[in-house]
């Protein structure tokens, strides 16, 4: 059978499942929405959502690669957005972005240090910081407005930081592509990437070979915080305003993107491109529900059902690939 020849390919590349699912969904959505989904304007907006969710997912994927998990990224995203909006007009948008990224790095370091120094599971620590920084965001936005009037959002920096389009598509997508390439090269072709995956594969074996396991994990959490805050910056750059609930529940979507994209939660095996396609699938489904006029209260339910179905299909595909 010609299909059997594909088995080794599927086995080696866990992300193939999500590519197939993405292709099928695109066909289905295009065919069934009478042009309301598959038009340039809508697809550009899907790509913008993919870019912000995708950047966050890349960071989460790196943490998953070390065998840990980071669910604080939704709040970090919100903090990044608020810091950027607060400083962009008062100081300078480029400096505001750097400050947002620094806050993200600090949240990541907070997570990483607590986890490696105390040996507490990352699920608990990052659940705590998810709530802590959400609380801070809500407190900060009470009585204050975090916004930049449209007229003040001119200039190349605003344009580059999610405030403008390139060929009709939000500039966030350019950031996504560049960062994807940089991180993929780092993961596959540098000692840091080798050690990161080793730590996720077997922390005790990596340790026995002289790898500084704690430093690798800390670096992954810092990168995750940086990417989430940067993603929040780009979203704030597009919207021009933010409230305390910005990025709520996005952490769950980011984790779902990673898992759909072939990242093994046990660690050691991740696909960055897969996580991105996972983010694309999630944003596509959301936009499909919108254009089909599904009432927002059904979103979560339908999204959840589709995620479960996709995960199941992916599992079937992988099981098939290891049969003879």
């Amino acid at each position: 059978m010609a299909l059997a020849a594909l088995k080794p390919l599927v086995r080696r590349h866990a992300e193939i499942g999500i590519f197939l699912i993405a292709a099928l969904l695109v066909l289905w959505f295009s065919a069934s929405s009478d042009g309301r989904w598959a038009n340039f304007y809508n697809l550009a907006s899907v790509l913008q959502v993919t870019a912000t969710l995708g950047l966050m997912s890349l960071g989460v994927a790196l943490v998953i690669g070390t065998g840990e998990i980071d669910i604080s990224v939704g709040s970090t995203f919100g903090m990044g957005a608020l810091v950027y909006l607060w400083l962009a007009l008062r100081v300078d948008p480029a400096l505001a972005m750097l400050a947002a990224v620094a806050v993200g790095a600090a949240i990541g370091a907070f997570n990483g240090l607590l986890i490696t120094r105390t040996g507490t599971p990352s699920l608990i620590i990052t659940l705590g910081s998810l709530m802590i920084f959400r609380g801070i965001a809500i407190a900060l936005t009470e009585g204050f407005s975090f916004s930049i009037p449209y007229g003040d959002r001119s200039g190349a920096t605003y344009w580059a930081l999610g405030g403008g389009d390139l060929l009709g598509i939000n500039t966030a997508l350019v950031w996504l592509v560049v960062i994807l390439v940089v991180l993929t090269v780092t993961l596959k072709m540098t000692p840091f990437g080798n050690r990161l995956l080793a730590v996720g594969g077997s922390a005790s074996s990596a340790h026995s070979r002289g790898v500084r396991v704690d430093r690798i994990k800390l670096a992954a959490f810092v990168l995750s915080g940086v990417l989430a805050a940067f993603s929040g910056t780009l979203e704030a750059g597009k919207l021009g305003f933010a409230d305390g609930s910005m990025g709520r529940l996005m952490e769950l979507q980011a984790i779902a993107s990673c898992v759909l994209g072939g990242c093994l939660l046990a660690g050691g095996r991740i696909s960055l491109i897969g996580a991105l396609v996972g983010a694309f699938v999630l944003s596509s489904i959301q936009s499909y529900l919108v254009v089909m006029g599904v009432k927002p209260q059904w979103f979560m339910l339908l999204l959840g059902i589709i995620v479960v179905a996709a995960a199941y299909g992916d599992r079937r595909l992988r099981n098939w690939s290891v049969t003879r």
Partner: protein, 258 residues
């Protein structure tokens, strides 16, 4: 040998895992050019002792001296930098990485492009391929294969090959012949002797009493976290050695009195 200062000196070492007393006041010296057999029952503390030497465990109290300097910080990186290579009993390979990547884990060769260190995959592949062939891995296994698919013996050969390739001053072997076929066992034992001849310190843990009696010039016996015997191999027959281990610490005094 006793006239030289020891390469590794362990003084009054105690180690607790929580409330469990795994090493009890262990003192032992190791010299360059020695092949020391470390034997004793399951759970006696052999692996725990060598894991202190290679930096995995930090002792609760006591001192470790390496080459005349006291070891202050315990981390495998520092032990490896000191020239201590270890074939570990149950760790050492990451299943999710290729043989080549495992081989160089923690000491990856790099080529810098604009200052950025990139893995020198060519070098990693070539050397690890050469070594796994020397150690009897067949052509159906390539250095790019993930360790996950290797058999028990193949994994052991990768670990041994790696330690021998990077040998420097000390090679610690924790039950190195596990999973190996007769021919590979002989190969490993020959290598252990060669390393000793080259002036390295070899610490060899095994349950094969008769084998270690042939190989080692000194035998250290552990029992329940304690060192109960430390003697030149020439001072006892293999049968006596087996008897001491079988009886545990209780009969040592008596045997020496006879």
């Amino acid at each position: 040998m006793p006239d030289k200062t020891p390469l590794i000196q362990v003084k009054n070492l105690d180690l607790y895992f929580g409330a469990f007393h795994a090493l009890k006041n262990v003192s032992v010296d190791f010299h360059s050019g020695e092949l020391v057999g470390l034997v004793g029952d399951n759970g006696a503390g052999k692996t725990t002792l060598i894991r202190v030497l290679c930096g995995i465990h930090k002792p609760t109290s006591g001192e470790v001296w390496f080459d005349g300097r006291q070891v202050k910080e315990f981390h495998p990186k520092l032990a490896i930098d000191n020239g201590i290579e270890t074939i570990q009993q149950s760790v050492g390979l990451c299943d999710n990485l290729s043989i080549a990547r495992n081989f160089y884990l923690g000491r990856e060769p790099v080529r810098r492009i604009m200052g950025i260190p990139f893995l020198d995959m060519g070098k990693m592949r070539d050397l690890s391929t050469k070594v796994i062939r020397e150690f009897g891995l067949r052509d159906n296994v390539s250095a790019d294969d993930e360790v996950e698919r290797l058999s028990g013996g193949e994994r052991q050969s990768v670990k041994i090959g790696r330690a021998v390739e990077f040998k420097n001053r000390v090679v610690i072997m924790d039950e190195p012949t596990n999973h190996l076929s007769v021919r590979e066992r002989e190969h490993v034992n020959e290598l252990a002797l060669q390393l000793k001849e080259q002036g390295l310190l070899v610490i060899y843990i095994t349950h094969d009493i008769f084998q270690v009696h042939k190989l080692a010039n000194r035998i250290v016996i552990m029992e329940n976290g304690e060192k109960i015997e430390d003697a030149l191999t020439s001072s006892m027959t293999a049968d006596q050695l087996e008897e001491v281990i079988r009886q545990g610490g209780r009969k040592v005094e008596k045997r020496e009195a006879v």
